[in-house]
């Protein structure tokens, strides 16, 4: 079942990952904005070659009334809730109440900062990013409580998490293709997977179940869940890369990036 209609954008493959250009990103506005749980992807300062979900009419942010902004938010951001919930379930480790809270907090923050979201850029990625940061903040505040265990480990985790969360601001051509391909291509790629692989992907990525839950549901060992999932994702990337090449979203050089 498809939730989001995608148009068929053309990808500017010039916008590729700048080799090792990561240093300056840390400690800039991005790191600052991580603190309030809303990191604005740096990519929004670049002209976006793909209009993913902002399919509405052109918006004049200066003259937009609050009521119009609310309407635009409901039209564009609210339909992305199913995907966000799947993501929230992963972060919440099977705690459905926490997953619901994460989604609600994400929408609250997104709405408050919606004026900062640049129409036409990747709204889905922006929302998912806010969700990750919201989750990080909850983690951080738990860390301050006296009863917190393994403080050092958690701190290291959180710092690493913050660093890793910043990545993706300069998406590779392949990432941009993944973000922009029509839903039909995603469905076709899923359908081409073997039954065993597809089930694991649908439970993990589609619905956000934890590895442990999937292992119980399918009655397979945890290690099998993990290996099937990574193999299935690699197969999906492979077929979606081919699809992107056929659609002209990727040039031959980008489409030939070798598999890990």
């Amino acid at each position: 079942m498809l939730c989001i209609p995608d148009n068929s954008p053309v990808i500017d493959t010039q916008l590729s990952w700048p080799a090792l250009g990561l240093g300056p990103m840390i400690g800039t506005d991005d790191a600052e904005s991580l603190k309030d749980g809303v990191a604005l992807p740096a990519v929004i300062d670049q002209p976006s070659p793909h209009n993913l979900t902002g399919t509405g009419p052109t918006v004049d942010l200066d003259t937009e009334t609050p009521a119009e902004r609310l309407a635009r938010f409901e039209r564009e951001a609210v339909p992305l809730m199913s995907g966000l919930l799947a993501h929230a379930r992963k972060r919440a480790n099977g705690d459905e109440y926490l997953a619901f809270d994460l989604v609600q907090m994400t929408y609250e923050k997104a709405y408050r900062h919606f004026a900062q979201y640049r129409p036409g850029t990747n709204l889905r990625a922006w929302l998912h990013r806010i969700l990750d940061n919201t989750h990080n903040n909850i983690y951080r505040s738990q860390r301050r409580q006296p009863a917190a265990i393994s403080v050092d480990g958690l701190m290291a985790d959180q710092e690493s998490d913050a660093a890793l969360a910043l990545l993706g601001d300069f998406p590779s051509a392949e990432q941009m293709a993944l973000e922009s391909l029509p839903d039909d291509d995603i469905q076709t790629a899923l359908a081409a997977l073997s039954e065993d692989f597809r089930k694991v992907v649908e439970l993990a990525d589609g619905q956000g179940y934890a590895y442990k839950e999937i292992a119980e549901m399918l009655d397979i060992p945890l290690g099998t869940v993990m290996s099937r999932l990574s193999r299935a994702r690699n197969k999906l990337r492979e077929s979606l890369r081919d699809a992107a090449f056929e659609r002209g979203y990727l040039d031959a050089a980008s489409a030939q990036v070798s598999q890990p």
Binding site: A19, A67, S82, Q104, H128, P171, S172, Q175, S258, P260
Partner: protein, 109 residues
């Protein structure tokens, strides 16, 4: 795209290979990083921040996951939908679009 992988030859102890990093990244994007015994969060972030193929791989995994999150028939429950819309409408009526900025200062104390 050029490969800039770390080879086993020039690896100090504690440094992980691309294959290990990418295996760990699958678990990382699933929030299951805690299951891995062989790679620490610091090892992973140090590697990924310095390795452009692995950083690109992480971006691709996130993008793939975001696409799949909406493609397998999962539907947010009506209860949650209503809760969110009610809350946002409430915020709109109260005009507290920027209240969050104040909350942050308190939280970040």
């Amino acid at each position: 795209m050029m490969r800039e992988e770390f080879s086993a030859a020039d690896m100090p102890s504690g440094v992980i290979r691309c294959s290990e990093a990418q295996g760990a990244l699958h678990a990382y994007v699933d929030g299951e990083f805690g299951l891995l015994a062989n790679v620490t969060a610091t090892q992973l972030s140090v590697h990924v921040l310095a390795c452009s193929p692995c950083a690109a791989f992480l971006g691709q995994l996130k993008a793939l996951q975001q696409r799949l999150a909406c493609s397998c028939g999962c539907e947010a429950p009506a209860e949650l939908r209503t809760r969110v819309i009610t809350r946002i409408t409430q915020m709109h009526v109260n005009g507290d679009m920027f209240a969050y900025l104040d909350e942050v200062r308190v939280e970040d104390f």
